[in-house]
Amino acid sequence: MSQWRQTWDLIRREFVQRAKSRGFQIMMLVTVGLVMSIIPLMAIALGDPPPTRIGVTSAVPDGTEGALQQRAAELDVAVIVRSYSSESTAETALRDGDVQVVYTGSAIVFLEEESTTAKAVVTGAAALLAFRAAANALGIPEAELAQVLAPPELEATILSPPDPEEEPRRIGSLVGLILLYMSILIFGQFVALGVMEEKQSRVVEVVLSRVAPDQVLIAKVVGIGALGLVQIAALGGAIWLALSFVDIADVSLPVLGAEILASVVFWFLVGYTMYAVLYAALGATVSRQEDLQSVLMLPVVLLLPGFFLGQTAQVFPDMPLVVIASLVPLWSPMVMPVRAAVSNVPLWELALAVLLVAATSYAAVRIGSRLYRGAVLRLGAKVRLRDAWRATW
């Protein structure tokens, strides 16, 4: 009977039993549902602005709608024009939010504050109509007037064009950060809960009479971690699918989404391993659910600064504190992927962060498995970590 075979059987049990649990299934449904409902909001944030709705009364001169559309086209904005029979019905529509501005022919009416775009479109259209009326009076043909009024063709040069991917990357990295933080936290807690339950039901004694403690620990971390990957894949897949329907100029959202998802998977594997072992060791110190909550404060306290610094990294990826945090193993799994998504992180920094976190994970596995061994068979009261460390089990 090989140890690999035993470990595989343990991993499979962890994965299957946890996947079958109602808690996990509810969590999957809720999170996927949440993500799917957030996507339309993201699409609005990332996509083109909605058209400006302009209400006009019957008092406006003929040709107003055409002039409004012409000005809007020149200003590269979209407008929808709605006609109202009187000033009062137009005002009601404004108050009801059906339109954002009302043009009466002699005045522009806003509800709460002026919209520069709407004002520019309406003023421009009014001027155009006035020029037309004057030209008509002077007998200048329409075609000549158009020639006179045509704006000169100026070549626009942008010295420092904004990266069209900047905003999508920022939002994507925030979604990735939330996914990472939640996944490490939730699946780490599953590990602690699983260890505590095995201790509480005493089944760990039967298991450990056949299998080495390190195998049990590794199987628990790997089995539940695999479930974490399934959740990330499901959520990431849902986001990726939804993004493929959002169209932003010059940006390939599916490519960007796949890049961020790959980064989330990689940093989840690294960060989860490190924290999951800590969760397992802490879970082994208690035999009751009531005691579990208090010992689980420690990993949350360790994780939380990483989450906040990750949010900071979104906006200030080169801030010294953020750069340092992206190399500190406890936080790098949350800070580095954000930095890497929104700025150009030197390769050596990335490599160093990975190296440090890998070394810490290795140390965590060694320390965690010793604590686990020392605590998991000591029933009754909460085991102090110091005693677990010293125990020769």
């Binding site: 009977m1 140890q3 075979r5 035993q6 059987d9 343990l10 049990r13 039993q17 649990s21 095995e198 039901s201 005493r202 089944v203 760990v204 004694e205 039967v206 298991v207 450990l208 009479s209 056949r210 299998v211 080495a212 068979l377 029933l379 020769t392 089990w393």
Partner: protein
């Protein structure tokens, strides 16, 4: 054969096992006795690799026990231990696989479910079973891989008389198949009925061990129970004492007591209804060994 030699285990200032030695042979059942806290569970945990002795050697078939050996052991812990939310059949298959049964796991599981009259409950979660049925599942976990050594910590605790009888029968069948069996119990009559061998532990030390029949016949004392004219009769011997706490009141006398003289004295006192002179029972051995 399982051999514990000089096994010592300390937990901080507490010495749970103090140079403990005993042997359990294949094809025989060993009763492992001792007062609460004497070190029985610790010794069993050391055998199963759940605790590491500070000193001494535990060997199986002449060699120190390895992880590979332990897969061929069966264990039933005192507190019992099953996954409460896992289905019975799934759980047994899981443990069969962990114990190296391999592809046969499902077939072996179904055989055990049938044998323990649990075939209809294979899809039930363990927590949905009655206490007695949970015990049966626990027993199946310990036995379904045909172990060579079975260690059971208080296996009879909480069983009704029929359950006790059924378990005793299972253990006897296993011993007949050359399995070595070690079980702990506080039910001395039961141990006396079921076991061939004995180990008594007190304060971490094995104070008496060996073949139960041999220990009884080799004991320095005998149970003397004489009834004259329908009443217990006190023998006119030096240093005898009356025991009333265990079954019929009787006297504990020296093995070499002169039976002819005693019988003559009794007959002179009246009509002898009963004259019984027998080796000490397990309870006598236990009391003497732990000196309480």
């Amino acid at each position: 054969m399982l051999v514990l030699s000089d096994v010592t285990k300390r937990f901080g200032a507490v010495t749970a096992l103090d140079a403990a030695c005993f042997e359990a042979r294949r094809g025989r059942i060993l009763g492992f006795l001792g007062p609460n806290g004497a070190g029985k569970t610790t010794a069993m945990r050391c055998i199963l690799g759940l605790a590491r002795p500070d000193r001494g050697v535990i060997s199986w078939c002449g060699k120190p026990i390895t992880a590979r050996d332990r897969v061929r052991f069966g264990y039933m812990p005192e507190e019992r231990g099953l996954y409460p939310k896992m289905r019975v059949r799934e759980q047994l298959i899981h443990f069969a696989r962990l114990s190296g049964v391999g592809r046969e796991s499902a077939a072996v599981t179904d055989r055990w479910l049938a044998r323990l009259e649990l075939s209809g409950r294979g899809n039930a979660k363990v927590e949905e079973l009655s206490h007695g049925n949970q015990q049966r599942v626990q027993l199946a976990v310990a036995l379904l891989h045909d172990p060579e050594l079975i260690v059971l910590d208080e296996p009879f605790a909480g069983l009704d008389p029929l359950g006790v009888e059924a378990l005793a029968l299972v253990l006897r069948e296993l011993a007949n198949k050359n399995v070595a069996i070690v079980f702990s119990s506080h039910q001395l009559d039961l141990v006396e009925d079921v076991c061939e061998d004995l180990a008594i532990i007190d304060r971490g030390q094995v104070v008496l061990t060996g073949d139960l029949h041999g220990l009884r016949t080799a004991a320095r004392t005998r149970r003397l129970d004489i009834t004259v004219n329908g009443l217990p009769w006190a023998p006119p011997l030096q240093g005898v004492h009356l025991v009333t706490s265990d079954g019929r009141p009787h006297y504990v006398v020296d093995k070499g007591a002169d039976l002819d003289a005693l019988l003559t004295a009794a007959e002179q006192a009246g009509e002898v209804d009963r004259f019984s002179f027998e080796p000490p029972r397990l309870s006598d051995l236990f009391r003497e060994a732990v000196q309480r």
